[in-house]
Amino acid sequence: MKCTKFVNLTAVTLLAVAVAAGCSRNPQAVTPLHGYKDKSVTDEVPKGPMVGDSQPIPLSGNLSGLQAAADQPAVLRDNVVYFAYDRADVRPSEGSKLDAVASYMKGGNRLVRVEGHCDERGTEEYNRSLGERRALKVREYLVRAGVSADRIDTISHGEDKPAVSGHSEAAWSKNRRAEFLLLQAPPSGVGASGPQ
């Protein structure tokens, strides 16, 4: 009898603890709708050492009109860089991809465009700007890795070109990205000068 009572009490206590732990405190009294969660920027603090913020590097515009090369090398196709929600900083986990791209670029006279993209959870012009900042942050990383800034162009497509359709984090995480596009060199020869 006593044993049963104790077991019951424990069960009730555990249940109560479980319920209390499961109830999230929602100070804004907002009920998130299915598929969306109001995430504050501080939710996504990356773990481990951050790649440091650097000075913006101006864009000359010399590469703006260049077309994509017919053949895109696997090293550029395969090393898509992914970002945390609402962030543009390059996470340490993505560093090895950018190192591979940097090696490729230093291995020849190569011109590349970084394309920044966002998931749908932002308004259109906000995302257009955020996508550009992601592309620029990738460019800054490559420059720090020794690639000449003149060889790297940027473009943002905002949320206009998702890689994966869908309204869940599985899709969104695949859309918050920067992709690389090898550019055709202009007919007169490579425009960039200076050390690679």
Binding site: D38, P56, I57, E124
Partner: protein, 389 residues
Amino acid sequence: MRTLIACIVTFALTFRAFGAEDRIVIERPMDDLGFLKPIPVAISGFSGEVDSVLKNDLLFMGVINVPVDQAKYLVNGSNSDRVEGGVTDKVTKHPVMPRKGYTGGNLRSQTHALADDIAQALTQLPGIAQRKITFKVHTGPGAKEIYIADYDGHNPRAVTQDGVNVSAPCWAGRLSLFYSSYKFGNAVIFSHVLQSGQRKAIARYGGSNISPAVSPDGSKVAMILSKSGSPDLYVSDIEGGNLRQLTSTAEAESSPCWSPDGRMICYTSRERGGRPSLFKISANGGRPEVIPTPGAPIPSEPDWSPNGKWIAFTSLIGTFRIFITPSDGGRVYEVAEGEDPSWAPNSRALIYCKGPDGGKHLSLLDVPTKQFKDVPRVLESNSQPAWAR
């Protein structure tokens, strides 16, 4: 005694005649936020499309159609031949707006003109029914075009036919648009004269040239350029000269809009610590100030009302919602579910968009009553509306 009565009557009649022709007092009670409470009128004499267009127009100008016993004013007219109408005070029978006829255009445009005149007579606010809107239309995979239409979505027509990505159209006066197009590969800001179709690249720097906003006096354009290596706020003359950088942050600025007196620019960026916020800065440059929007997180796409009092913007709380805040911020009021608001010329209605990605449509909102009316969609998805002023 008779003389005395005669004198009193004459005096009374004279006094009455003098008072009657002098002032017509229209009561315009306001609600707690300073918007006019809807003025009740009884509309009669119109038929078919004219009748429904008139009632819809007036709704977004703070004039509502009610049964005669609840009305303060009578709107009477006809459209058997051309559209004509006038407004009288129900009780005193005094004319508030003498009967007018409209010619030219078509029945719809005549009705819009009548509606604007009625609203102006009753509310003293600018009319909205004759002002056009511009917006972005998804026409097919990867292709978007800029369209214009009547404010209620009628008579849509394509302004661009480039088959590339375009975004963020805005008005320069009522006859030209500015927008960002990927026609040259990267996003470039164009001006586009509607009548001739003539256009000119206004900002074609390296990186992204996006989110143009023309100043209310038409002399300048604000925009977001990334040529410095980060998306920053810039201002230039309307032809693109005298470019001046207003912000140089490590953050990404976006979606600028002007105060109606042209002295300030409101835009989105982040505070130190990373929180997205609305900011305002002098159009001549200087220190930006946060416009606090407590309870409306991740504010973006602001639009400053033409009377200077309010800033409407989009917030993300689960879904996109439209809020308004006084131009100094501090308090917010949710007014609709949707995004990307643009104020009507009367600072009372606004147009915005809503719906799922790939299938958005525009909608009209009467801000103080929160009544909204969806606008018929053109092709696949409509977004980024802007109302000419």
